[in-house]
């Protein structure tokens, strides 16, 4: 019975279903990158340069030029991402190409070295490139694994809502603690005063059981059961456990967000260092030619 009238909607373009950047257009860029690597390896295998395979053979220069051009183009993703110019472009396609062509640099770069390494600016550039690629791989791994955990953890709350919720609980704790004696009030005050999210990068990345002024307050308050009216105690404990839960949720949220971003702090600066080293590498090669 479910029959639509004969009417087809005109769609602008693009996929209707969700499709990750890795498998964009049925793995288009993975295929292109693999093909590129395969061709380059085959040429390397059948090429027999004199005296030995190295950067200064014809094939070596070709690989170097491809590699350098590719690196500059891959770096341009940073600008593409932020330039909201009109036009038919998809950042997802760019990311897909960035990842797969970036990975092909492992092959291109290594073949370009001809497997000659040493303590010099040339190997420095190679090492930096590998660092960039490794950090990028880490990025791909966390992009693939963490988003669903981020989503599960936050439920339908936004970060702002979580922070507001925390402030609301703090206000309630403050008013609920008014009838307490100095010792008990001090315990609550410590929870109110504490910045649960300070402590720098290590604290931000640490996972595991919470140990902070709020959990201590929960514990201490139970030991003071005799000093506090029963209904006030119940209310305070319930508020503290709510706060405990919310702080833990926020910490998980901030930790996941930090991991999703932290690799960029290696990836981007080392890319800049890589480009500097590459310039030194190219200049020195031509200087000693």
């Amino acid at each position: 019975m479910a029959t639509r009238s004969d009417r087809k909607q005109v769609r602008r373009s693009g996929a209707v279903l969700h499709d990750s950047f890795l498998r964009h257009r049925n793995w288009r860029w993975a295929k292109i990158a693999s093909l590129l690597c395969l061709v380059l390896i085959l040429i390397y295998a059948f090429d027999n340069p004199i005296p030995r395979p190295e950067g200064d053979t014809v094939y070596g220069y070709t690989l170097g030029t491809i590699g350098f051009g590719l690196i500059l183009w891959l770096t341009a993703l940073g600008i593409r991402k932020r330039r909201m110019s009109p036009g038919v472009w998809s950042l997802k396609a760019w990311t897909s190409a960035h990842v797969w062509l970036g990975l092909s640099l492992v092959v291109i770069g290594t073949l370009h070295t001809g497997f000659h390494f040493g303590w010099n600016v040339h190997t420095l550039a190679y090492a930096l490139m590998m660092l960039v690629i490794l950090s990028g791989l880490f990025g791909v791994a966390v992009y693939a694994s963490l988003p669903s955990r981020l989503s599960e953890n936050r439920g339908e709350l936004t970060e702002t809502q979580m922070l507001e919720g925390l402030r609301a609980i703090d206000r309630q704790l403050h008013s609920a603690a008014q009838p307490l004696n100095a010792r008990a009030a001090g315990v609550i005050q410590a929870s109110l005063d504490e910045d649960a999210f300070g402590g720098g990068l290590r604290a931000r990345l640490r996972s595991g059981k919470l140990d902070n002024a709020t959990t201590r307050a929960e514990h201490d308050l139970r030991t003071m059961a005799g000093e506090i009216p029963a209904d006030a105690l119940a209310r305070l404990l319930s508020l503290l456990s709510q706060k405990h839960g919310l702080v833990a949720q926020l910490q998980r949220h901030l930790r996941l967000r930090a991991i999703l971003e932290i690799w960029l702090y290696v990836h981007v600066p080392s890319t800049i260092a890589l480009i500097a080293a590459l310039i030194a590498h190219v200049v020195s090669v031509f200087f000693y030619w």
Binding site: R4, S5, K8, R12, V16, H18, P86, L91
Partner: protein
């Protein structure tokens, strides 16, 4: 005895009074409150008031130009004083009696006022409902709250659990330094009429002990500094220095209808004798009084102007105030201020068609030559022509194409058009008839291409104007519904049917309103009727293993129910409304007779049925293969329907298995649209990692369009619902949107370029700048009004929606619901 009494000092009444004063007419301006123009007065402080429509000239003795509320009110107060207008303040009119030349206006607590004519300019806001319980003379009871910061150290009781009451109560406790003790009183246990966000804030405030909330409580008495409640557990008296009652308001219609009416006793209640008093055009909620071209109502001597007459914009109102006084003073030859606009509209048309080639001639011509306009008054004609367009087309010219977006209604004023119902098959529509009415009802794209068959003159009526017309003139509504139903059936079934074939089916059909969630067909039930979805949408479910499995989604323009009719047997699936919908129920026997007469139609229906049976089979197969996937698909589909996707035409969906939270979508949105983001990625509902962010769904029947004073919201060429530049920033759309996707904000100043940020750190970088940055960098002396900000689907931007283009991981997509909610999706599931 005054020559004219003007009731209500809004823009219309004030302008009328000023003109009466300028002409030296004996007049009185009666105002309920202690200040002029209460509606504008109640705007928030510093609000920028717009002066639209821009092309309309202002004809008034008072000044008015776009500007701050204070400046405008100041100018009006000065003007009123300068013209020595005779104002009677704090005078609430309770009744109007008498007849032309001798009206008596009864005023609460004041002597009666006598007048020969009356001008009603009381707007549509109505009077707030008053407290019914005994109130002590010394008690402070108020029905509005202008500035919550005014009150310090008081016990304040807010009565009413609607948005107004909750917002007032929250405002009063916002600053603890004011030390107010606030109690909110609600008659029920819940707050069903209030916005969810407000209720949450209220609950939080109660939990924090900042406010007392009394539920299931009535107010028994208000004393000088106490208030007594009838609570669930008995009578309670608490201290109270001030009572703020926000218990709704009564629309002014009852008062207007009672003016000079005779009354009779009907079912024990006093009611107006039909045909007396000021009559309204229909019983419809958005109906206005019947008026002559000179604004005179059905009671001679009583004139109605302003919002109550159907003109919500300030400039219209002020012009009418001027005009009505001219008419009363005897200048009946006065042309309305909109005359130049109408002249412009009629200027390019072929000569010789209308009796005279001026505005009156054309208005008469249209009224006589277009069927749906026959019953309109000259005033209604003028008003509706202001919104509409008229143009001449050469033979062969395309009016619109199939699949074009557009929701306006066309009427053929002269000539004829050809509708291409199938390639090579044209249906002619002649003079006096209409076309394009399907868009009017469902808001979807055009169903066929229409060309001018011979030289013709066409009238294009925007959807909002057409809907207004339908509610005002019942004959228009009947005609449009009859034509549209017939055409919808013809278009849907095709197969060479003609209107004559459908005559029997049409008489055996009825239009039914279906509430969201209500079923029209139930699996296993008997029944042979066919249902056509006219507006809204339906979902089809089938019970597999005791659980309802989502089968498909039926948008407006689909039909359902043919299987039981053709194959016999019971219904094979349940069909229920995803949102409030309208269906046409066609009697099964009448339709069976039609099928028998038309083998082509039978063949067509059988073909449609086979496709549907395939879907059924597919689901059964999959169920055996991986039952989990089917369950998942089914529950996701239900989640999406619950979140309004059923009425969407295009919606942003985020796969949270891919979203890394970079907010590049929001940044892209802001940078593509004057620096303001129209979406909130993080907010919104999520189910099974599928997230519906706070972003416009471009509803089939946009709720935001419902009540836009300057009619600034339209559906654009790509199906997008957008706000144009005539937005006056009133916020009605934001309030009406059930999904909270519209906000009001000022356009921030221009940012430095991307490279100068990237290389030198200048400016705030990509995305929406902070309010602080915008404020600090706003050029001095520039005052920008707040305007409604909403998604326009990046219309006009090459490449399409920026949010999707800018998503680095493929998490963000935009889809139409029928594409997303198909079983095909099951096969493509990763």
């Amino acid at each position: 005895m005054h020559r004219v009494a003007i009731i209500g000092s809004g823009p219309a009444g004030l302008s009328a009074a000023a003109h009466a004063a300028a002409l030296g007419l004996d007049h009185v301006l009666i105002e309920k409150t202690d200040h002029l123009s209460d509606t504008i007065y109640k705007y928030q402080k510093g609000k920028h008031v717009m002066a639209t429509p821009a092309q309309l000239v202002l004809r008034s003795d008072l000044d008015f130009a776009a500007g701050k509320r204070e400046v405008i009110l100041g100018a009006w107060n000065e003007g009123t004083e300068g013209h020595k207008v005779n104002v009677l303040m704090e005078a609430e009119v309770v009744a109007v009696t008498g007849q032309a030349g001798d009206f008596t206006i009864s005023i609460k607590g004041k002597p009666d006022v006598k007048a020969e004519t009356i001008v009603l300019g009381i707007g549509t806001q109505g009077n707030p409902n008053r407290m019914r319980c005994p109130v002590d003379d010394n008690a402070t009871v108020q029905y509005t709250l202008d500035d919550p910061a005014e009150y310090i150290d008081e016990h304040i009781t807010v009565i009413g659990g609607g948005d107004a009451g909750i917002e007032n109560a929250l405002g009063l406790i916002a600053d603890p330094e004011q030390r107010n003790t606030v109690t909110l009183v609600n008659i029920g246990a819940d707050f069903p009429t209030a916005k969810d966000a407000n209720v949450k804030l209220l609950m939080a405030a109660e939990a924090e002990g900042r406010m007392t909330v009394m539920r299931e409580t009535n107010t028994a008495a208000i004393g000088a500094d106490t208030i007594t409640f009838d609570a669930r557990d008995g009578s309670v008296t608490v201290p109270c220095n001030r009572t703020i009652a926000r218990i709704g308001s009564a629309p002014p219609r009852a008062f207007v209808e009672a003016c000079c009416a005779s009354f009779e006793d009907k079912d024990g209640r006093k009611s107006v004798v039909p045909g007396t008093g000021v009559q309204f055009a229909s019983a419809d909620r958005i109906s206005y009084p019947k008026l002559t071209p000179t604004f005179e109502s059905t009671v001679p001597g009583i004139f109605v102007i302003g919002a109550l007459a159907g003109y919500p914009l300030i400039k219209h109102c002020m012009n009418q105030g001027y005009d009505v006084i001219e008419f009363i003073a005897g200048n009946t030859a006065l042309k309305p201020a909109d005359e130049p606009i109408l002249e412009q509209k009629f200027s390019g048309l072929p000569r010789g068609l209308a009796r005279t080639d001026d505005v009156t001639g054309w208005l008469d011509y249209l009224r006589e030559h277009v069927e749906i306009l026959h019953d309109l008054s000259p005033l209604q004609m003028r008003e509706f022509m202001l919104d509409s367009e008229i143009a001449a087309f050469a033979a062969g010219e395309t009016i619109f194409r199939r699949n074009d977006p557009g929701s306006s209604l066309f009427a053929v004023a002269a000539g004829a058009v050809a509708v291409e119902v199938a390639p090579g098959t044209d249906v002619m529509i002649g003079e006096s008839s209409i076309f394009g009415e399907v868009g009017l009802i469902s808001g979807r794209r055009r169903g066929s291409t229409v060309r001018a068959a011979k030289p013709c003159v066409l009238l294009e009526i925007p959807r909002s104007a057409a809907l207004k017309l339908m509610s005002q003139v019942p004959a228009v509504k009947r005609t449009i519904i009859r034509i549209s139903t017939e055409r919808q059936l013809l278009q849907m079934f095709g197969s060479g049917l003609t209107p004559a074939d459908l005559a029997d089916v049409m008489t055996h059909s009825e239009i039914k309103q279906i509430k969201a969630g209500e079923a029209i067909l139930v699996e296993g039930d008997e029944g042979r009727d066919i249902y056509v979805v006219r507006s809204g949408s339906m979902i089809v479910e089938k019970k597999v293993g005791g659980k309802p499995i989502f089968l498909s989604y039926l948008p407006a323009g689909s039909y359902v129910g043919e299987m039981a009719l053709i194959d016999g047997g019971t219904r094979t699936a349940t069909v229920r409304a995803a949102i409030r919908s309208e269906v046409l129920r066609i009697d099964g026997d009448a339709f069976a007779a039609l099928l028998q007469k038309h083998p082509a139609l039978l063949e067509r229906a059988t073909r449609d049925m086979a496709a549907r049976r395939q879907v059924n089979g597919f689901i059964e197969d999959r169920k055996a293969d991986f039952g989990g996937a089917v369950d998942m698909y089914s529950s996701v589909a239900n989640f999406l329907i619950e979140n309004g996707i059923g009425e969407a035409t295009d919606v942003l969906l985020i796969d949270e298995k891919l979203c890394v939270g970079c907010d590049n979508c929001e940044k892209a949105c802001a940078d593509s649209h004057e620096g303001l983001s129209r979406l909130d990625r993080e907010a919104g509902r999520t189910y099974a990692h599928l997230h519906v962010p706070t972003s416009c769904r471009h509803c089939e029947h946009p709720h935001c369009m419902a009540d836009c004073p300057p009619n600034a919201i339209h559906r654009g060429p790509d199906g997008e619902v957008f706000v144009d530049d005539s937005c006056i920033g009133c916020g009605n759309c934001a309030r009406n949107c059930p999904y909270g996707v519209i906000r009001l904000d000022k356009v921030p100043p221009k940012k430095p370029g991307l490279l100068s940020w990237l290389l030198f750190g200048r400016g705030p970088g990509p995305g929406e700048p902070s309010h602080k940055w915008s404020h600090d960098n706003m050029p001095a002396g520039v005052e920008k009004p707040k305007k409604a900000i909403k998604c326009d689907m990046c219309s006009g931007i090459d490449g399409g929606p920026a949010c999707v283009r800018a998503c680095p991981t493929g998490a963000a997509i935009r889809v139409a619901p029928e594409e997303f909610l198909t079983v095909a999706r099951l096969g493509a599931e990763r």
